[in-house]
């Protein structure tokens, strides 16, 4: 075995890759495009993040910035992940996903079915219904879900390609409210777990990875930061640091102190 830690870790990573629907992704950070102050700022953030997958929404032509946005993302060489943002029923979400597949020629979809505009929390009943319909229609379904481990398991059992539990409500920046549930989800499903929503800063992204998540999806934390490009770089490092820490194995928590310096050989002064 090589003694160069970077080479060794790359080999370990290659042996345990992040794969969605047969595609291996070397970046474990997925980026949303909502909330950026300008297309220039978005492009710099996408590049700095190192991401390979970027979410977009589908909206009426006159209200969109379609051409410029897609040009930027084409230049960045990222895969498009259309979302169903704003949908409140399975019916709407399924149609939106089908329309996005026609528009962007991809069967990948970030499935969002929210209950209301105030909480933006997923409606679990509609979400599972939509997921089942889209899986049957051949989609690679990445559902934005609550941090309920049983719902996550139901979504995985329904054939979703990954599950994407929230850390806290969309855009709140409150971080991971229930780390125990996120770790439990990781235990209960065999598909990738992507922490989606609620990330506020790089330490939140690192925590998600330390809890065992396979990747992190975030938007506002970068696009609404004072310096999106710098925060994108911070998130990239946060995800990498958390991943390394999870693999390295943290020390157990102790109630009392444990000296790292031996008492043996202490001089009698």
């Amino acid at each position: 075995m090589t003694t160069d830690p970077v080479v060794r870790l790359e080999a370990e990573e290659a042996a345990d890759p992040f794969v969605i629907s047969g595609r291996t992704l070397t970046s474990r950070l997925l980026l949303g495009t909502g909330g950026a102050p300008s297309l220039e700022a978005l492009e710099r953030a996408v590049v700095a993040s190192g991401t390979q997958v970027v979410t977009i929404a589908l909206r009426r032509v006159e209200a969109s910035t379609s051409t410029g946005l897609l040009e930027v993302l084409d230049r960045c060489g990222v895969q498009l992940l259309p979302n169903t943002a704003g949908c409140m029923t399975a019916r709407e979400a399924v149609r939106t996903a089908q329309l996005a597949r026609e528009a962007f020629d991809t069967a990948w979809v970030k499935l969002e079915v929210i209950a209301d505009e105030q909480t933006l929390l997923p409606d679990p009943i509609e979400l599972l219904d939509a997921a089942e319909q889209l899986v049957a229609d051949g989609f690679t379904v990445l559902p934005y879900t609550s941090d309920d481990p049983i719902l996550a398991r139901r979504l995985a059992d329904a054939g979703c390609a990954a599950v994407m539990p929230l850390g806290s409500p969309i855009g709140s920046g409150l971080g991971i409210g229930n780390p125990h549930n996120i770790a439990l989800i990781r235990e209960l499903v065999s598909v990738p777990v992507i922490l989606d929503a609620g990330i506020g800063t790089a330490s939140d992204a690192a925590l998600a990875m330390e809890l065992g998540c396979d990747a992190v999806l975030l938007a506002s934390a970068v696009t609404r930061a004072r310096d999106p490009e710098q925060m994108a770089l911070a998130m990239r490092h946060g995800v990498e640091a958390g991943r390394l820490a999870a693999r390295a194995g943290r020390i157990p928590r102790r109630w009392h102190a444990l000296a790292s310096t031996s008492m043996q050989g202490r001089p009698d002064l």
Binding site: G34, L58, R59, S66, T67, L69, E102, A219
Partner: protein, 66 residues
Amino acid sequence: MQITINGSAAEVDESITVAALVRDRIEGDRRIAVAVNSGVVPRSQWETTQLGPGDSIELLAAAAGG
């Protein structure tokens, strides 16, 4: 004939196809999707799908979003 495009009334030629409407209304990038009366019209059917009076059309494109 009168139809609705993205929520606004519009006057178009009789029996215009989805493909012709897209050519008229969309400049540049055609990575768009079309729904007629809430039904998805696959790209492969744009040329053969004719619109009728009172149809409600959604022309959708990429927008920034989480």
